[in-house]
Amino acid sequence: MKNPNTLKKKLASRFLKAMKKLKYKMSPSPPASIAEKKRRHRAVRAAAYASMASAVGPRRAWSRALLRKMKGRKRARRNPGNMNTRFGLNHLCDIVPGGEAMDSCSLLNETAHYIKCLVAQVQIMREILHSSSSSSTIL
């Protein structure tokens, strides 16, 4: 459904913007303690997911769930009559955001889209990392 190039561009722009915002908030490199580092890493990861979710928008259930989590309002556990139609998707619904309130069919759909977005996000992060690192020699 999504053209991978447009998705990547959108993700990249949003992620870079989020990172820039993050940079100004954080202390300049390198942070001293491990706790600070942890915080930084978590912030970066949160920025990654947030940019992913906002790039996708409210079109997808998982992005909606992620956005809800960001805003601190994760309470949408509707449709409790899904347990009998699960067929072993229990673990999947724990992993994919918002997987609780979905039936099996749409859960698989959401998983597919989520995987696509994750792959694009990871590629973007890698490319950013490699472009910023000076010596990138691979054995």
């Binding site: 490199s29 390198p30 942070p31 491990i34 580092k37 942890k38 930084r40 890493h41 978590r42 970066v44 990861r45 920025a47 990654a48 997911y49 449709n79 009559g81 009998n84 067929f87 072993g88 998707l89 673990h91 999947l92 992993i95 994919v96 039936d103 099996s104 069919c105 698989l108 759909n109 998983t111 597919a112 989520y114 995987i115 696509k116 994750l118 792959v119 996000q121 990871v122 992060m125 890698r126 950013i128 990392l129 490699h130 690192s133 000076s134 010596s135 990138s136 691979i138 054995l139």
Partner: protein
């Protein structure tokens, strides 16, 4: 006699009988403007009306009991008495009107049902009356007209009789399919629908989605749904872990070894590192690298690189470690990150991968060491 042993034809027959009644009325009304033989026709019919043959199985429980059936009986008698194409056509018409099961005589004319004919009775009446006229006048040039009108009649009769049986033989399948389609189109959330067709369609949809997921996930192992699900779960977990790792390594740090994965318990790997932090982090990194190496060599390399590590043969690593063992600082792991070439910490870890890697690289001979920038 009128036998009440009737199947689903009674309501249709009522309408058809009313058609036939209107037949008679229109017949009489149209009489003055039409041919002369009609008068003789009417007389003949009234002649037939007097004699009522008893051997007709049409029921008798509709409002106009006597005339219509006698009329039809009379017409039948007429057919029996009068031979020729006209009578045969009349009988055809009667049969078309009264029943749709009479397939054989319909073969003489076209079998095409004019489904576009109007559903109301009056045009059918007109057509039937015209057909009657054509029959009685015996105009050979109007055969096509006849057939058209037969078709009209047939269409009208068909459409009237469709209500009877619910679905004819040709349309029974469509009816059933339509019903099942309606069932399937009903919302899936209704738990009170144990119908097998709905279940089957749902399973088909799920299988379809699983197939599309298989194309996304690199390890396309089409054997089993459960194993495919596990594969998908693992892949999603792996991607999330990659995001985590990349976010950690982004800010320039092999120094970020410590808070790598709090859920991964450090196993008893031989790590000759000097720092406790380093040990835990390195064990976790080992695991991660091993996992990555199973998937993709390039991503494993990049992961290590992002952490400021690299793969090197054991011999070289041991050589380096012995060479630099003198100048090792305990807290060096904190500074060895983004590019401090001053004191490269010589934390060495062995990576042993039990899984086979599809590129003929066995990891037992390789270890990861810090990148010397």
């Amino acid at each position: 006699m009128r036998e009440p042993s009737r199947e689903p034809e009674s309501p249709g027959l009522t309408s058809i009988n009313s058609v036939m009644n209107q037949h008679q009325f229109l017949h009489e009304m149209l009489q003055p403007s039409n041919f002369d033989p009609t008068s003789s026709h009417e007389d003949f019919l009234e002649q037939m009306l007097s004699s009522v043959p008893p051997s007709f199985p049409w029921a008798d429980d509709h409002p106009p009991p006597g005339n219509s059936e006698d009329h039809s009986a009379a017409l039948r008698m007429r057919h029996q008495q009068i031979s020729g194409g006209a009578a045969k056509a009349l009988m055809l018409q009667q049969q078309l009107l009264l029943s749709r099961g009479f397939a054989s005589p319909m073969h003489d004319h076209n079998d095409v049902v004019d489904s576009s004919s109007p559903n109301s009775a009056n045009p059918a009446n007109d057509a039937s009356i015209k057909g009657l006229f054509n029959v009685f006048t015996g105009l050979p040039g109007q055969n096509s007209n006849q057939s058209q009108q037969f078709h009209h009649l047939q269409g009208g009769a068909m459409q009237q009789s469709q209500n009877l049986s619910g679905a004819a033989a040709a349309t029974s399948g469509d009816g059933a399919a339509g019903r099942s389609k309606q069932k399937v189109r009903a919302r899936r959330g209704q738990a009170t629908d144990p119908h097998s067709i709905a279940e089957r369609l749902r399973r088909e949809r799920i299988a379809e989605r699983m197939k599309s997921l298989q194309e996304l996930v690199p390890n396309a192992n089409k054997t089993d749904k459960a194993s495919m699900l596990d594969e998908i779960i693992d892949y999603v977990k792996f991607l999330q872990l990659q995001v985590k790792v990349l976010s950690m390594s982004r800010l320039g740090g092999a120094a970020a070894v410590a808070p790598l994965a709090p859920d991964k318990s450090p196993e008893g790997r031989p790590t000759p590192a000097s720092n406790n932090n380093n040990k835990e982090g390195i064990a976790a990194t080992e695991q991660q690298v091993a996992k990555l190496l199973e998937e993709d060599m390039g991503s494993a390399m990049q992961y290590l690189q992002g952490k400021g590590l690299c793969l090197m043969p054991i011999s070289l690593a041991t050589a380096i470690s012995t060479a630099t063992s003198h100048s090792r600082n305990p807290p060096s792991n904190r500074e060895a990150g983004g590019g401090g070439p001053s004191s490269p910490s010589t934390s060495v870890m062995t990576v042993q991968s039990s899984a086979t890697i599809g590129r003929n690289i066995s990891l037992k001979d390789a270890i990861a060491g810090p990148k010397l920038e």
